[in-house]
């Protein structure tokens, strides 16, 4: 009854947007599609919301077939596209009213569901949607996607370009919605948000790299991972790039995440090497991989 995707393929001319994608989302699950721009996330959303037809494969949403029962799907899902797509010259309230009306309901009937979110923008209900700030637009778009009480909610990059505080609040809202028995498929390029999903699919270049719970995904990271810091970040990256035993290095905030070609590393050895490159203040310690580490390892 959630979402079922089986061997879905979609190409635009010579470009393959989705290549043989299969996965299931369980009813009531919060499922994340994690991948950068151009990975194929939006194509998949458009196929599942019946706005685009796949070249091959089958899919059902809330138990309905995306081809044969597209009208039932349109009544049962809420969709918040990546690009702001409300009516800019209608007010906040007019937009919400409009979406309620075309789905044959009223704001009052389902106010309960959107209340949490809508109260935050209600003080501005007479303002035109085009004049809202980014964070408020996002809240209005979510309210409009929810006002007909959908069984499945599709959110395509709802937090792209949104600051960390608003992102955190947005995910708290999603967690509350999930408790109201709404299945949620959400996409994001922010790897830190992946940890908040029940399960995630890592997707790149139209292919799914891995599907699992966030914990399982990081536990499958193949190598011991080290945090390394030194007095000069640029020099540290350069020295490690040229080091013969380096398997991978990626800057991570104030540290560099390092893996070695060998199974065991001698930290003193590595420290000596870095010192010989003119670096000081060197710290090397083992660390836990993140989803982003796993993604980069799989995407290499």
């Amino acid at each position: 009854m959630g979402i079922s995707v089986f061997n879905i393929t979609k190409s635009y001319g010579e470009v393959t947007a989705l290549s043989d994608i299969s996965f299931d989302v369980k009813p009531g699950e919060l499922f994340g599609l994690i991948g950068p721009d151009g990975a194929g996330k939006t194509s998949l959303f458009r196929i599942l919301t019946t706005l685009l037809i796949a070249d091959k494969g089958q899919a059902t949403v809330a138990g309905y077939d995306v081809l044969k029962e597209y009208k039932s799907i349109r009544n049962s899902v809420g969709y918040m596209p990546g690009r702001f797509s409300l009516y800019q010259d209608l007010t906040v309230e007019e937009n919400l009213n409009f979406f309620a009306t075309i789905f044959g309901t009223t704001i009052e009937e389902n106010y309960d569901l959107v209340k949490d979110i809508y109260v935050q923008i209600e003080p501005f209900k007479t303002r035109r949607a085009g004049k809202l700030s980014g964070g408020m637009k996002q809240k209005l778009a979510l309210s409009c996607a929810l006002i007909h009480k959908p069984k499945v909610l599709f959110l395509d990059e709802p937090t792209t370009g949104v600051d960390p505080v608003s992102r955190k609040e947005f995910w708290e809202m999603l967690k509350r919605l999930q408790k109201k028995d709404i299945t949620i498929l959400v996409s994001t390029p922010y790897m830190d948000e992946a940890a908040l999903c029940d399960r995630i699919a890592l997707i790149q270049d139209g292919e799914i790299l891995q599907i699992d719970t966030p914990n399982a995904i990081v536990s499958h990271f193949p190598k011991p991972l080290y945090n390394i810091s030194a007095n000069d970040m640029h020099g540290l990256i350069e020295s490690l790039t040229n080091h013969e035993h380096t398997y991978s290095i990626f800057p991570f905030g104030e540290f560099v995440h390092y893996t070695d070609k060998r199974d065991l590393i001698d930290r003193e050895d590595l420290k000596d090497y870095l010192e010989s490159q003119g670096l000081s203040d060197i710290h090397i310690e083992k660390t836990q991989p993140t989803i982003e580490d796993t993604f980069m390892e799989l995407a290499k």
């Binding site: 991948g35 950068p36 721009d37 151009g38 990975a39 700030s133 980014g134 964070g135 990059e157 792209t160 370009g161 949104v162 600051d163 960390p164 505080v165 608003s166 992102r167 955190k168 390029p189 922010y190 790897m191 790149q204 970040m233 640029h234 990256i237 990626f250 800057p251 991570f252 905030g253 104030e254 982003e292 993604f295 980069m296 995407a299 290499k300």
Partner: protein, 242 residues
């Protein structure tokens, strides 16, 4: 000393009606510095940046960018800075080559200079195969790297980057930052906004705007010490939640 700063801002404000989008901010940016300009959506970052790049006139206060006054010499500012944003950087329906030629021309480079820059840039980014492809057909990460290089065509003293890495994959995001490091290393000043807090750690200094004011400005290390947290993300959450 003051004149040596690439950006010098004193008590700068911008009012819309009685709303102070930017409320009396002061800061400076040194040559070759990577300066992170952070803040929540609606905090006033874009308004402040528009004044600094010479497309919006302040209500009050003083500011110079690359040595030019934001009130009287806005046109000189535009010629002497580089700018790229996530929303607009290159023309999608021009080819890679055409974009470089176009922006080179806009920035007043000679044909010979453009030709030379184009060769260097295509070589450095490995774009040989796609020089005659439309920019629209490139992956976002390539576009952003190309846009950054194009913003540096006229060798500006300072380049403004407005969320340059939004939505870019994690590997390309890091390659992009290597380009930033390299440009800074060569003396270009970098003024950058981002919502990725790990990127805030890569900046020499970071300012955080809250409701039109700069609430914090220091190195990432000192900010973390001051707010007693381990990450810039936590610093941001503490400040921006008020």
């Amino acid at each position: 000393m003051k004149d040596k700063n690439v950006i010098q801002v004193e008590d700068l404000s911008k009012l819309f009606g009685d709303f102070a989008a930017v409320n009396n901010i002061s800061f400076h940016v040194k040559p070759g510095e990577i300066f992170g300009f952070l803040g929540a959506n609606g905090a006033g970052k874009t308004t402040a940046m528009k004044m600094l790049i010479g497309i919006s006139s302040p209500t009050s206060g003083k500011a110079t960018v690359a040595g030019f006054d934001v009130y009287k010499e806005a046109e000189s500012i535009k010629k002497n800075i580089g700018y790229m944003s996530q929303k607009f950087a290159l023309y999608d329906d021009l080819t890679v080559k055409e974009n470089i030629t176009f922006f080179g021309g806009i920035y007043g480079l000679s044909k010979k200079q453009i030709e030379q820059k184009r060769c260097e840039l295509v070589e450095e980014l490995g774009l040989q195969e796609v020089t005659n492809s439309l920019v629209a057909s490139l992956p976002l990460g390539w576009k952003q790297k190309l846009a950054f290089s194009v913003s540096l065509l006229h060798e500006p003293k300072i380049v403004f980057l407005d969320e340059p890495t939004g939505g870019v994959d994690p590997i390309t995001r890091r390659q992009f930052w290597e380009m930033i490091y390299k440009a800074a290393h060569n003396g270009t000043t970098i003024f950058v906004t981002t919502h990725y807090m790990d990127e805030a750690e890569y900046c020499d200094r970071v300012s955080i705007m809250v409701n039109g004011k700069i609430e914090a400005l220091d190195t990432p290390k000192k900010l973390k010490e001051h707010y007693k947290t381990d990450t810039m993300n936590d610093v941001f959450l503490k400040l921006a939640r008020g």
